[in-house]
């Protein structure tokens, strides 16, 4: 039983916008243990990126309101922590990899220099040791000529190389948690495969807990052991990847998978989800997916809770009155 | 109709800040004065009266009289039309011409763009005031020539602003789409490029009007603008400041008028910039 790194319980948060309060996350729960790669999948507006930012309190403080629940990272209560405390944790215990590597890298500083500064900031090593560590971590992210790359600027590297550097930076302090938000979306298919393999390898070697966020079900399927499916700020289904993605219980997950062209027959029509995304300013009472659901019944007027469905391959939870039928 | 609603919404947002509110009210007053000025006073700005020379401010002459017996209050009111009016016209003309040239240059690119930008650089290298002075002097001292000089001085600003915006707009897919359908360059510049860069232009115009008022006053002060007996603020201070010690009211009120007008427009300009800046608008 590996150590619990992330524990999100019943978290709700809203943004106060000029047009009203938008309930972005509604009672979500999430657990990630050391060495696990957990996926968070959803479409735009599902709240997946917000969840990532919430874990380290990177949301804009003037408009964000936490209306319920708690977030614990390595035992630390994130919501109750002061900014100074949590700032120490970022980069140290929590590493970040975002979609666009150029936003994480300083375009005017050499790669080696950037890594050098990050290493020095998070560990008490002298200059020589830090320089050696730069080479070491560049090697670890499978960059074949680290001495040359260290002397280059970000614009001289390809997208895949830059993302490797970002991963190196994120992993440099050996964090307990790595948050990767769409890390391969901007990359080519062949490079994507390499980056995902790299993340998997590093997680295994360093026993890092990984939160992998993506809208691409296949990326999640090939990399994660567990997954939570988000819809309009709620977790509608969660469990082991083999179960959730191969034999989903929630109508939304089922519809999502059936709308993928990957295995659809060429002469068939793709299944689509009728209706529109709900207005998060006026959350309907009852199941958030009900308006678009093909299996809707009268019980759905009441908000379903995340129930245990089956116990094969670990916990499989679904928020649906009709599941399993 | 839509424009009306949008403007009122804009004014609503602008006036949330107290300074902005004062500025907007001041500008409203200025515009009213400019429009119906003559009805606010029974004197004529040109009426000389030797017996009424240099009278201090009173119930009849709110701001006193000048060395030729003319009512200063009246002259300031009539002067509003000149100073503010010319400023508005010069800047609007400069913006119109500069924007189209810049947008066209940015979209077409290549040697034309290089040529226009280098020429613009040359013009912008001159200090605004020096260039305006030189132009006004060369064209001959008059109100119209002062307006022309200011417009010419400001055109390069808009060319550069529009051109830089046009560079990125030209790369947008809706422009590419028009190109694939064979639409002509002028059509694309007119319908796609210019409308999409209008926002920074509006901000620049707001900021420039204050600048233009000051320029006109300066030119007038140096005798290069409107000629006597036209009640132009700068010219009034030019004669007035000689009387500063004993007849303090003469240049002071005119100076205050310039100050208030320029400040109001500057605050408006800043407010407009904040209004349209996506980060601040959040």
């Amino acid at each position: 039983m590996s150590k619990n790194i992330v524990s999100v319980k019943d978290l709700s948060l809203s943004f106060s916008m000029s047009s009203g309060d938008v309930q972005v996350l509604n009672h979500i729960s999430l657990e990630i243990n050391a060495g696990e790669i957990v996926g968070l999948v959803g479409e735009s507006g599902s709240g997946k990126s917000v969840t990532a930012l919430a874990l380290s309190k990177l949301l804009p403080t003037d408009i964000t309101r936490f209306t319920s629940g708690s977030i614990e990272v390595q035992g630390m209560d994130v919501l109750k922590s002061k900014e100074s405390e949590i700032a120490k944790v970022r980069g140290n215990s929590i590493g970040f990899v975002f979609q666009e590597p150029m936003t994480a890298l300083n375009p005017t500083m050499k790669i080696g220099n950037q890594l050098f500064h990050v290493i020095r900031r998070h560990s008490k090593v002298d200059k020589e040791q830090a320089r050696a560590k730069v080479q070491e971590i560049l090697n670890e992210v499978m960059i074949s000529n680290p001495e040359i790359v260290a002397e280059q600027y970000p614009f001289q590297l390809s997208g895949g190389m830059r993302q490797r550097v970002v991963i190196a930076m994120a992993m440099s302090a050996n964090p307990a948690l790595l948050i990767a938000d769409e890390p391969t979306t901007a990359l080519d298919v062949t490079v994507q495969a390499e980056i995902l393999a790299l993340i998997t390898k590093l997680a295994r070697i360093h026993n890092t807990a990984v939160l992998l966020i993506s809208h691409d079900l296949a990326v999640i399927a090939s990399t994660c052991s567990r997954v939570s499916v988000l819809y309009a700020g709620e977790v509608v289904e969660s469990g082991a990847v083999e179960v959730v993605l191969k034999d989903p219980a929630h109508p939304y997950t089922q519809a999502l998978i059936r709308s993928l062209p990957d295995i659809a027959a060429r002469d068939s029509q793709l299944e689509t989800i009728p209706g529109e995304f709900p207005d998060l300013r006026n959350r309907p009472t009852g199941c958030i997916y009900a308006p678009r659901c093909s299996k809707r019944v009268s019980a759905c007027d009441v908000q379903p809770t995340l129930e245990l469905v089956k116990s094969i391959a670990g916990i499989h939870q679904v928020a649906c009155w009709e599941s399993g039928k | 109709m839509i424009i009306f609603r949008k403007t009122s919404a804009m004014i609503g947002k602008l006036t949330r800040n107290r300074f902005n509110l004062i500025a907007v009210i001041t500008l409203a007053i200025i515009f009213v004065v400019g429009a119906i000025g003559p009805f606010l006073t029974r004197f004529s700005p040109l009426d000389t009266n030797a017996e009424k020379r240099l009278l201090s401010p009173s119930g009849t002459h709110f701001f006193g009289t000048d060395e030729l017996g003319r009512d200063i209050f009246t002259r300031i009111i009539y002067g509003t039309r000149i100073s503010v009016g010319i400023a508005l016209i010069s800047i609007l003309v400069a913006a119109l011409i500069g924007t189209f040239i810049g947008a066209f240059s940015g979209f077409v690119g290549r040697w034309l763009d290089q040529f226009i930008m280098r020429s613009t650089d040359v013009l912008l290298a001159f200090p605004t005031l020096v260039l305006a002075l030189a132009l006004a002097a060369a064209l001959g001292a008059s109100m119209v020539n002062a307006a022309i000089a200011i417009a010419i001085v400001k055109i390069p600003v808009y060319i550069r602003l529009a051109r830089n915006q046009a560079l990125s707009i030209s790369e947008r897919l809706y422009v590419k789409s028009s190109q694939t359908n064979g639409l002509k360059t002028f059509w694309i510049v007119r319908k796609h490029i210019v409308p999409n860069l209008i926002t920074p232009i509006i901000v620049q115009v707001s900021l420039d009007i204050g600048d233009a008022i000051l320029l006109i006053a300066t030119l007038g002060f140096l005798g290069l603008g409107a000629q006597a007996p036209t009640p132009e603020w700068g010219a009034m201070i030019s004669t007035g400041w000689n009387y500063l010690i004993n007849q303090w009211w003469y240049p002071t009120f005119t100076g205050a008028a310039i100050f208030i007008a320029v400040m109001a427009f500057n605050i408006l300009g800043d407010a407009m910039r904040d209004l349209f800046d996506p980060k601040v608008a959040q």
Binding site: D188, T190, S259, T272, I273 | T180, N181, L183
Partner: protein, 257 residues
């Protein structure tokens, strides 16, 4: 019957950096043909040249050499309106300051008045809006009032106004959510059937290409390494690069094929 035939297309970009001139062979000796009524897929990663080929076909860029045949005749420019393009990004492909009505009818600007009135008449605009699944009442709205998927439908409507024979689709679904992507793909299929269209479908998404395309061409760094039918490419690829590409695609249920 071959609708479009491209032979020996070349395009090289020359870049001057620090006094040295470097050459980027964006398109190297590419030849392929598209038959009337088929969906031809062009796949490749970034730098493969697929966007450059699209730009050359749409005359946004010139080729260095090569010939293009359209409906059997060699030509430099396509007959007006016969070839249209749908771009990837629904956010920047529509002018935010224009109404949908103006956007959709814009391609008819260059036509003579009589033809323009035929193609962009009110009835036709209403008909086209309905055929892409949008409400005609919304013709006077602006792009920001629509979602990403709806904007892509508008872009498709714009592409159809001139009754084109060939539609080039450059990553039309890559910026869309999964559920929206399905809707747009269904729409594209239906429109193709209803209007007898031919598609050049450019994408890096293998799943979509496998579902939609009849024939596929694989590009690697400007070179067309393999061309074949859907079955040939996805079940029996011969070129190393094609195999590598297909092997890299993450899958939901084991291998893609």
């Amino acid at each position: 019957m071959s609708l479009l035939e491209v032979t020996n297309l070349h395009k090289t970009f020359r870049l001057k950096t620090k006094g040295k001139v470097s050459e980027n062979h964006a398109v190297s000796d590419v030849s392929f043909s598209i038959n009337q009524g088929e969906v031809f897929g062009l796949v490749g990663e970034s730098g493969s040249g697929k966007t450059t080929i699209a730009n050359i076909l749409m005359q946004l860029e010139s080729s260095d050499s090569g010939t293009i045949f359209f409906e059997g005749k060699e030509m430099n420019t396509f007959p007006y309106g016969d070839v249209q393009i749908v771009f990837q990004d629904p956010r920047s492909s529509l002018d935010p300051r224009m109404s949908i009505r103006q956007i959709i009818s814009e391609p008819t600007q260059r036509l003579i008045a009589k033809r323009r009135n035929e193609l962009a008449s009110e009835e036709r605009l209403v008909e086209i809006m309905q055929s892409v699944g949008l409400r005609p009442e919304h013709l006077d709205r602006k792009p920001h009032q629509f979602s990403g998927g709806q904007r892509q439908r508008i872009a498709i409507a714009r592409a159809l106004i001139t009754k084109p024979k060939l539609v080039v689709l450059d990553e039309p679904t890559s910026a869309l959510d999964i559920s929206v992507q399905a809707q747009v793909i269904n729409l594209l299929k239906k429109l193709q059937r209803d209007n007898g269209l031919t598609y050049l479908f450019i994408s890096h998404n293998m799943g979509v290409v496998k579902y939609l395309c009849d024939r596929v061409g694989v590009l690697n760094k400007g070179v067309l390494v393999e061309v074949g039918t859907n079955a040939e490419i996805f079940s029996a690829a011969t070129h190393e690069y094609t195999k590598k590409l297909l092997a890299s695609v993450p899958t939901m249920h084991g291998r893609l094929l």
